[in-house]
């Protein structure tokens, strides 16, 4: 291990990689236990939706929080993934996993195309361009009835095919627990992939672009190319979420991918803490579960949701991650005081 060559470096790498392994194990165990804790199909659906939203949020965060690209059209890639994967099955008769891959690839390609198209744009221009892109995608889904069925919708989409390994019981994804394991497994996979990327020099490159493009290019960073890369990667993850959306909900209508869906995903990233990967995970979970828990409030539900989003931005712009840091700092101070007597 090379850190031994530079012993003076007190390399944080080893320590963090060990603790990351524990975190990963913890995450796997949690995912494994969740459907056992939540037995009813309502909560299991919520679990699946949580996992879908986690994918969407980390994908958007990669684009927004790391590469600094103001993407307000994430719902478009979600929708592309959902429709492409479904249509590849129904129109071309290809197996689910091929369709799944097509969904990812096309969503990623759409993201890259938008990014290339808007490569000269920054900040709000990109925000509105991506918003416009999402409107176009939604309207194409609505109007291209011969292909997408438009608002008539596609129903009875089957879950992914059963996995029958010799010697093991057949794994059917009609079972909500198995479906959750599948979606959450992929969410975790994408999380780990993106996490590896942001911890590699690619992460440094992207944050450099986010912080200052002129400066970044003065260091030899090809900003347009990396932005296209980030957009492609983030939207490909959204495409995967879309494919799972279709196969777990079973119904597709264009309005599921309306632009306000982009705002919801954005809110997850912000509430969780932009520019960290773990933040959006918590943000996605919170903003999926919170509206469900708030159902008791009936009409007040979305009022509270809007108020909470505004309050977070005003008073806790770093989101849950910042809140956690503050709590930890308070805790440390308290402990220090106790230890001091």
């Amino acid at each position: 291990m090379s850190s031994r060559d530079h012993t003076e470096l007190a390399n944080p790498f080893d320590r963090s990689s060990v603790s990351r392994r524990w975190w990963l194990l913890g995450a796997i165990v949690t995912i494994g236990l969740l459907p056992l804790v939540f037995q009813d199909s309502y909560w299991r659906t919520n679990l699946i939706v949580c996992a879908l939203n986690v994918m969407l949020a980390i994908g958007l965060d990669f684009i927004l929080g790391y590469a600094g690209q103001l993407n307000l059209g994430h719902s478009a890639f979600y929708g592309i993934g959902a429709y492409v994967s479904t249509l590849v099955i129904t129109k071309l008769g290809l197996p689910f996993w091929v369709a799944f891959l097509c969904g990812i690839v096309l969503a990623g390609a759409a993201g890259m195309a938008l990014s290339m198209f808007a490569v000269r744009l920054r900040g709000h221009y990109l925000a509105i361009a991506s918003l416009g892109f999402a409107v176009i995608v939604h309207q194409v889904l609505v109007n291209w009835i011969s292909l997408t069925q438009g608002p008539l919708g596609i129903y009875g989409i089957k879950p992914p095919p059963e996995i029958a390994l010799p010697g093991l019981p057949v794994i059917s994804f009609g079972n909500s627990a198995n479906m959750f394991y599948l979606v959450a497994g992929f969410a975790l996979l994408f999380y780990v992939l993106l996490d590896q990327l942001v911890r590699s020099p690619i992460g440094e490159t992207l944050t450099a672009i986010r912080e200052d493009e002129v400066s970044a290019s003065s260091l030899g960073i090809n900003c347009p190319a990396w932005k296209v890369f980030a957009f492609g990667a983030g939207s490909a993850v959204a495409g995967a979420a879309g494919a799972f959306y279709a196969s777990s909900v079973g119904t597709l209508v264009p309005d599921a991918f309306i632009i306000t869906e982009s705002f919801t995903i954005l809110a997850m990233v912000i509430v969780g803490g932009m520019g960290t990967l773990i933040g959006p995970v918590w943000g996605a979970i919170l903003l999926t579960v919170l509206p469900e828990v708030l159902r008791g409030f009936g009409d007040l539900r979305l009022v509270l949701y809007g108020a909470a989003l505004t309050l977070v931005v005003l008073f806790m712009p770093g989101g849950i991650v910042q809140a956690a840091q503050i709590v930890r700092a308070q805790f440390d101070r308290l402990r220090a005081r106790l230890e001091a007597g």
Binding site: A208, E211, S217
Partner: protein
Amino acid sequence: MTISGRVAGQADGRRNSDKVLFRSKSLNKSFGGVHAVRDISLNIPHGGVFAIIGPNGAGKSTLLNLMSGLYQPDSGTMSLDGVDLVGLKAHRRVRLGLARTFQKIRLFKHLPVLDNVIAGFHIHHDIPAWQYVLQGTAFRRDYARCRHEARKLLSFVGLEERAKARAGSLAYGEQRMLELARALATSPRLLVVDEPAAGLNAAEVEKLLDRITQLRAGGMTVVIVEHNMDLVMKVADRVLVMDYGQYLFEGAPAEAQVDPGVVAAYLGA
């Protein structure tokens, strides 16, 4: 040593092309009605400190932005070590060995000091792409090497203690030094420093000049863009004086100080 458009300093015997690192011919750049750089030709030799000076608004920064690729010239040619630069994007020029700092400091303010420098290693990661995802041995070696090199650079500019601080929290003088370290991380052959003394106190200027001298001693070519003539006199081997976007004088620093045209420009005649 340097040759400019009309005078074409043939008197200087060192116009041997293989000794010239950066060469430009008749560069022009206008913004709207302002002719910011007019017909500038210069040859910067390997090694040494080359200063571009002139009063505020003389077009120095525009010239520098043309060199670094932030702007493209309206006309004229440029080359670095024989490679044509015109049309080449800024990030491509870095790979040819051209690095710069900025007049208005442009650090990655929200990132730690160390990460600012590490970002400068962007063009020097040579591990295969899959290593970024799997993070195997090669990746870890690269990771440790970058951190090691970055700390060396930080200690070169005297910031090793501040490695974990946020770049935006550094004092102004420290930020300048950090920007220098970051530019050095790209391992440039030609380092362009824009107004390095702006906003620094005397001690900080001294320290900065000392580092530049060290870099020159190490064989690096340094271009300093500066409006303060006294400052460059100490370190520059050669100066180009500009005014209103035009060539005014080019030669040894001592000669510049007595050149009537230069004096007039500086005294605002």
